[in-house]
Amino acid sequence: MKVIVNIQLKDGVLDPQGKAVHHALTSLKFNEVNNVRIGKQIILDVDTSDIHTAQQRVETMCEELLANTVIENYTIEFPTC
Protein backbone atom coordinates (compact mmCIF):
# COMPACT_ATOMS: atom_id res chain seq x y z
CA MET A 1 0.00 0.00 0.00
CA LYS A 2 1.27 3.44 -0.91
CA VAL A 3 1.29 5.99 1.88
CA ILE A 4 2.25 9.63 1.48
CA VAL A 5 3.56 11.61 4.45
CA ASN A 6 3.69 15.40 4.09
CA ILE A 7 5.80 17.29 6.60
CA GLN A 8 5.51 21.05 7.10
CA LEU A 9 6.97 23.53 9.54
CA LYS A 10 4.28 24.53 12.04
CA ASP A 11 2.49 27.85 11.56
CA GLY A 12 4.43 30.56 13.32
CA VAL A 13 7.77 28.81 12.80
CA LEU A 14 9.72 30.88 10.31
CA ASP A 15 10.49 29.00 7.08
CA PRO A 16 13.69 30.59 5.70
CA GLN A 17 13.64 28.41 2.56
CA GLY A 18 10.08 29.45 1.78
CA LYS A 19 11.00 33.07 2.39
CA ALA A 20 13.99 32.87 0.01
CA VAL A 21 11.88 31.25 -2.71
CA HIS A 22 9.12 33.83 -2.21
CA HIS A 23 11.71 36.56 -2.61
CA ALA A 24 12.98 34.94 -5.83
CA LEU A 25 9.43 34.59 -7.21
CA THR A 26 8.76 38.25 -6.45
CA SER A 27 11.94 39.29 -8.24
CA LEU A 28 10.71 37.25 -11.24
CA LYS A 29 7.55 39.41 -11.11
CA PHE A 30 5.23 36.67 -9.81
CA ASN A 31 3.72 39.28 -7.56
CA GLU A 32 0.49 37.37 -6.98
CA VAL A 33 2.26 34.99 -4.58
CA ASN A 34 1.46 35.99 -1.00
CA ASN A 35 3.41 33.37 0.86
CA VAL A 36 5.58 30.28 0.28
CA ARG A 37 6.03 27.39 2.69
CA ILE A 38 8.34 24.51 1.82
CA GLY A 39 7.91 21.06 3.30
CA LYS A 40 8.92 17.55 2.39
CA GLN A 41 7.07 14.55 1.09
CA ILE A 42 7.96 10.99 2.04
CA ILE A 43 6.40 8.18 0.00
CA LEU A 44 6.23 4.82 1.73
CA ASP A 45 5.36 1.41 0.35
CA VAL A 46 3.86 -0.34 3.35
CA ASP A 47 3.32 -4.08 3.51
CA THR A 48 -0.32 -4.12 4.65
CA SER A 49 -3.73 -3.87 3.05
CA ASP A 50 -5.46 -2.58 6.18
CA ILE A 51 -5.70 1.19 6.05
CA HIS A 52 -6.34 1.47 9.80
CA THR A 53 -3.19 -0.48 10.70
CA ALA A 54 -1.17 1.51 8.18
CA GLN A 55 -2.45 4.80 9.61
CA GLN A 56 -1.45 3.80 13.15
CA ARG A 57 1.97 2.48 12.16
CA VAL A 58 2.83 5.49 10.00
CA GLU A 59 1.72 7.87 12.76
CA THR A 60 4.20 6.16 15.08
CA MET A 61 6.90 6.45 12.40
CA CYS A 62 6.19 10.18 12.16
CA GLU A 63 6.31 10.69 15.91
CA GLU A 64 9.51 8.69 16.36
CA LEU A 65 11.54 9.61 13.30
CA LEU A 66 10.00 11.18 10.22
CA ALA A 67 8.89 14.48 11.78
CA ASN A 68 10.32 16.60 14.57
CA THR A 69 7.06 17.48 16.29
CA VAL A 70 8.66 20.39 18.14
CA ILE A 71 8.68 22.38 14.90
CA GLU A 72 6.89 20.23 12.30
CA ASN A 73 3.37 19.01 11.56
CA TYR A 74 2.64 15.98 9.42
CA THR A 75 -0.29 14.67 7.41
CA ILE A 76 -0.78 11.11 6.19
CA GLU A 77 -2.51 10.38 2.88
CA PHE A 78 -3.58 7.19 1.16
CA PRO A 79 -3.64 7.96 -2.55
CA THR A 80 -6.21 6.05 -4.56
CA CYS A 81 -4.71 4.82 -7.78
Binding site: L9, V13, L14, P16, A20, L65, L66, N68, I71
Partner: protein, 223 residues
Protein backbone atom coordinates in the same frame (compact mmCIF):
# COMPACT_ATOMS: atom_id res chain seq x y z
CA UNK B 1 39.27 12.31 33.66
CA UNK B 2 38.17 9.87 30.95
CA UNK B 3 36.41 11.44 28.00
CA UNK B 4 34.42 9.25 25.60
CA UNK B 5 34.03 10.87 22.18
CA UNK B 6 31.33 9.14 20.13
CA UNK B 7 31.98 8.63 16.42
CA UNK B 8 29.02 8.30 14.02
CA UNK B 9 29.26 7.73 10.27
CA UNK B 10 29.80 11.28 9.01
CA UNK B 11 31.26 12.68 12.24
CA UNK B 12 34.29 14.84 11.39
CA UNK B 13 35.33 16.63 14.60
CA UNK B 14 36.30 13.64 16.73
CA UNK B 15 40.07 14.07 16.21
CA UNK B 16 39.96 17.81 17.03
CA UNK B 17 37.92 17.04 20.14
CA UNK B 18 40.37 14.29 21.19
CA UNK B 19 43.31 16.67 20.58
CA UNK B 20 41.69 19.41 22.68
CA UNK B 21 41.03 17.23 25.73
CA UNK B 22 44.44 15.53 25.46
CA UNK B 23 46.08 18.97 25.35
CA UNK B 24 44.30 19.64 28.64
CA UNK B 25 45.89 16.46 30.03
CA UNK B 26 42.84 14.19 29.89
CA UNK B 27 42.45 10.62 28.59
CA UNK B 28 40.25 10.31 25.53
CA UNK B 29 38.69 7.23 23.95
CA UNK B 30 36.91 7.27 20.61
CA UNK B 31 33.78 5.10 20.76
CA UNK B 32 32.07 3.92 17.56
CA UNK B 33 28.31 4.40 17.49
CA UNK B 34 27.66 0.66 17.07
CA UNK B 35 29.13 -0.02 20.51
CA UNK B 36 26.58 -0.62 23.24
CA UNK B 37 28.68 0.31 26.25
CA UNK B 38 30.77 3.31 27.26
CA UNK B 39 34.33 2.64 28.47
CA UNK B 40 34.54 1.76 32.17
CA UNK B 41 34.95 4.92 34.24
CA UNK B 42 33.75 7.42 31.63
CA UNK B 43 33.47 10.88 33.25
CA UNK B 44 32.32 12.87 30.23
CA UNK B 45 30.64 11.89 26.97
CA UNK B 46 31.18 14.20 24.01
CA UNK B 47 28.94 14.06 20.94
CA UNK B 48 31.20 15.83 18.43
CA UNK B 49 30.47 17.87 15.33
CA UNK B 50 30.03 16.61 11.79
CA UNK B 51 27.28 15.36 9.53
CA UNK B 52 26.11 12.13 11.12
CA UNK B 53 24.30 9.88 8.63
CA UNK B 54 24.77 12.55 5.97
CA UNK B 55 22.30 14.88 7.74
CA UNK B 56 19.58 12.93 5.90
CA UNK B 57 15.96 13.66 6.86
CA UNK B 58 17.04 16.26 9.46
CA UNK B 59 20.39 16.91 11.11
CA UNK B 60 20.99 14.19 13.72
CA UNK B 61 17.52 12.65 13.24
CA UNK B 62 18.94 9.18 12.63
CA UNK B 63 21.86 9.28 15.10
CA UNK B 64 19.56 9.05 18.10
CA UNK B 65 18.79 5.44 17.14
CA UNK B 66 22.43 4.30 17.11
CA UNK B 67 23.11 1.52 19.65
CA UNK B 68 25.42 3.70 21.80
CA UNK B 69 22.76 6.39 22.21
CA UNK B 70 20.63 4.22 24.49
CA UNK B 71 23.60 4.06 26.86
CA UNK B 72 24.39 7.77 26.47
CA UNK B 73 20.78 8.68 27.30
CA UNK B 74 20.85 6.40 30.38
CA UNK B 75 24.24 7.91 31.37
CA UNK B 76 22.80 11.46 31.09
CA UNK B 77 19.61 10.56 32.97
CA UNK B 78 21.73 9.12 35.78
CA UNK B 79 23.54 12.47 36.12
CA UNK B 80 26.53 11.75 33.85
CA UNK B 81 27.98 14.76 32.07
CA UNK B 82 27.35 15.02 28.33
CA UNK B 83 28.58 17.73 25.96
CA UNK B 84 27.12 18.03 22.45
CA UNK B 85 28.99 20.26 20.01
CA UNK B 86 27.30 21.39 16.78
CA UNK B 87 25.91 18.14 15.28
CA UNK B 88 26.16 16.76 18.82
CA UNK B 89 23.90 19.59 20.06
CA UNK B 90 21.41 18.64 17.33
CA UNK B 91 21.56 15.02 18.58
CA UNK B 92 20.77 16.09 22.14
CA UNK B 93 17.72 18.01 20.88
CA UNK B 94 16.53 15.11 18.71
CA UNK B 95 17.01 12.70 21.62
CA UNK B 96 15.04 15.09 23.89
CA UNK B 97 17.90 15.39 26.36
CA UNK B 98 17.65 19.14 25.72
CA UNK B 99 14.50 21.13 24.91
CA UNK B 100 13.77 22.82 21.57
CA UNK B 101 14.71 22.05 17.98
CA UNK B 102 17.19 23.14 15.32
CA UNK B 103 16.18 24.74 12.03
CA UNK B 104 17.94 25.82 8.84
CA UNK B 105 19.92 29.04 9.27
CA UNK B 106 17.69 32.02 8.62
CA UNK B 107 19.78 33.12 5.62
CA UNK B 108 19.69 29.53 4.26
CA UNK B 109 23.51 29.53 3.93
CA UNK B 110 26.11 27.35 5.60
CA UNK B 111 28.01 29.70 7.93
CA UNK B 112 31.67 29.03 8.75
CA UNK B 113 33.55 31.79 10.60
CA UNK B 114 34.82 33.01 13.94
CA UNK B 115 31.94 34.27 16.06
CA UNK B 116 31.85 36.22 19.30
CA UNK B 117 29.76 34.79 22.12
CA UNK B 118 28.59 36.36 25.35
CA UNK B 119 28.55 34.40 28.61
CA UNK B 120 25.01 34.66 30.03
CA UNK B 121 25.31 32.19 32.89
CA UNK B 122 28.25 30.41 34.49
CA UNK B 123 26.45 28.71 37.35
CA UNK B 124 27.29 25.31 35.84
CA UNK B 125 30.20 22.91 35.29
CA UNK B 126 30.86 23.84 31.68
CA UNK B 127 31.30 27.62 31.90
CA UNK B 128 32.31 28.03 35.53
CA UNK B 129 35.70 29.45 34.46
CA UNK B 130 34.12 32.07 32.17
CA UNK B 131 32.93 35.34 33.74
CA UNK B 132 29.31 36.35 33.14
CA UNK B 133 29.20 39.09 30.50
CA UNK B 134 32.66 38.23 29.14
CA UNK B 135 33.14 37.55 25.43
CA UNK B 136 34.54 34.43 23.78
CA UNK B 137 35.75 34.16 20.19
CA UNK B 138 34.98 30.68 18.88
CA UNK B 139 34.39 29.28 15.36
CA UNK B 140 30.93 28.31 14.17
CA UNK B 141 30.32 26.04 11.15
CA UNK B 142 26.75 24.95 10.49
CA UNK B 143 23.83 25.02 8.07
CA UNK B 144 21.14 24.06 10.58
CA UNK B 145 21.91 26.09 13.67
CA UNK B 146 18.86 28.25 14.12
CA UNK B 147 17.73 27.28 17.60
CA UNK B 148 13.96 27.24 18.12
CA UNK B 149 11.91 26.92 21.28
CA UNK B 150 8.40 28.16 22.02
CA UNK B 151 7.79 31.09 24.39
CA UNK B 152 6.86 28.93 27.36
CA UNK B 153 9.96 26.78 26.91
CA UNK B 154 12.09 29.89 26.59
CA UNK B 155 10.72 31.31 29.84
CA UNK B 156 11.61 28.04 31.57
CA UNK B 157 15.14 28.13 30.15
CA UNK B 158 15.69 31.58 31.64
CA UNK B 159 13.99 30.73 34.94
CA UNK B 160 16.28 27.72 35.43
CA UNK B 161 19.52 29.45 34.28
CA UNK B 162 19.75 27.19 31.22
CA UNK B 163 20.70 29.84 28.66
CA UNK B 164 24.50 29.85 28.80
CA UNK B 165 25.81 31.64 25.70
CA UNK B 166 24.39 33.97 23.06
CA UNK B 167 25.87 35.18 19.78
CA UNK B 168 27.06 38.80 19.76
CA UNK B 169 29.39 41.16 17.87
CA UNK B 170 33.00 41.83 18.90
CA UNK B 171 31.87 44.53 21.34
CA UNK B 172 29.15 42.42 22.90
CA UNK B 173 26.35 44.13 20.94
CA UNK B 174 23.44 42.31 19.31
CA UNK B 175 24.32 39.94 16.46
CA UNK B 176 22.46 36.83 15.38
CA UNK B 177 24.20 34.90 12.58
CA UNK B 178 21.62 32.13 12.16
CA UNK B 179 18.31 33.49 13.45
CA UNK B 180 18.25 31.55 16.73
CA UNK B 181 15.57 32.54 19.26
CA UNK B 182 17.15 35.27 21.44
CA UNK B 183 20.46 34.57 19.59
CA UNK B 184 20.96 31.50 21.82
CA UNK B 185 24.18 29.58 21.10
CA UNK B 186 24.41 27.25 24.13
CA UNK B 187 21.97 25.75 26.62
CA UNK B 188 21.99 23.06 29.28
CA UNK B 189 19.32 20.83 30.78
CA UNK B 190 17.52 21.58 34.03
CA UNK B 191 19.84 19.30 36.04
CA UNK B 192 22.87 21.09 34.48
CA UNK B 193 24.71 17.93 33.42
CA UNK B 194 23.86 17.98 29.69
CA UNK B 195 25.27 20.81 27.57
CA UNK B 196 24.72 21.66 23.92
CA UNK B 197 26.26 24.40 21.79
CA UNK B 198 26.63 25.17 18.10
CA UNK B 199 30.10 26.85 18.32
CA UNK B 200 33.23 24.67 18.33
CA UNK B 201 35.34 25.21 21.49
CA UNK B 202 37.64 22.36 20.34
CA UNK B 203 38.64 24.54 17.37
CA UNK B 204 39.65 27.44 19.64
CA UNK B 205 42.52 25.75 21.49
CA UNK B 206 45.64 27.45 20.04
CA UNK B 207 46.27 31.21 19.81
CA UNK B 208 48.27 30.61 16.62
CA UNK B 209 45.03 29.38 15.03
CA UNK B 210 43.05 32.46 16.02
CA UNK B 211 41.81 31.87 19.55
CA UNK B 212 42.30 29.75 22.64
CA UNK B 213 39.03 30.77 24.28
CA UNK B 214 37.85 27.16 23.99
CA UNK B 215 40.40 26.14 26.63
CA UNK B 216 38.67 27.87 29.55
CA UNK B 217 35.34 26.46 28.37
CA UNK B 218 36.47 22.82 28.20
CA UNK B 219 38.55 23.24 31.39
CA UNK B 220 35.25 23.61 33.26
CA UNK B 221 34.81 19.85 33.04
CA UNK B 222 38.20 19.20 34.62
CA UNK B 223 38.30 19.18 38.39
Amino acid sequence: MLVAVIVFPGTNCEIDTKYAFEKLGQSVTLVFHKEEQLPQGTDLVVLPGGFSHGDYLRSAAIAKFSPIMKTVIAFANAGGRVLGICNGFQMLLEAHLLPGAMKRNENVHFISKFQHLKVINNNNTFLKKCAVGSLLNVPIAHGEGSYYIDQEGLNQLYANEQVLLTYCDELGGAENPNGSVDAIACICNKAKNVFGLMPHPERAIETILGSDDGVKMLEGFIN
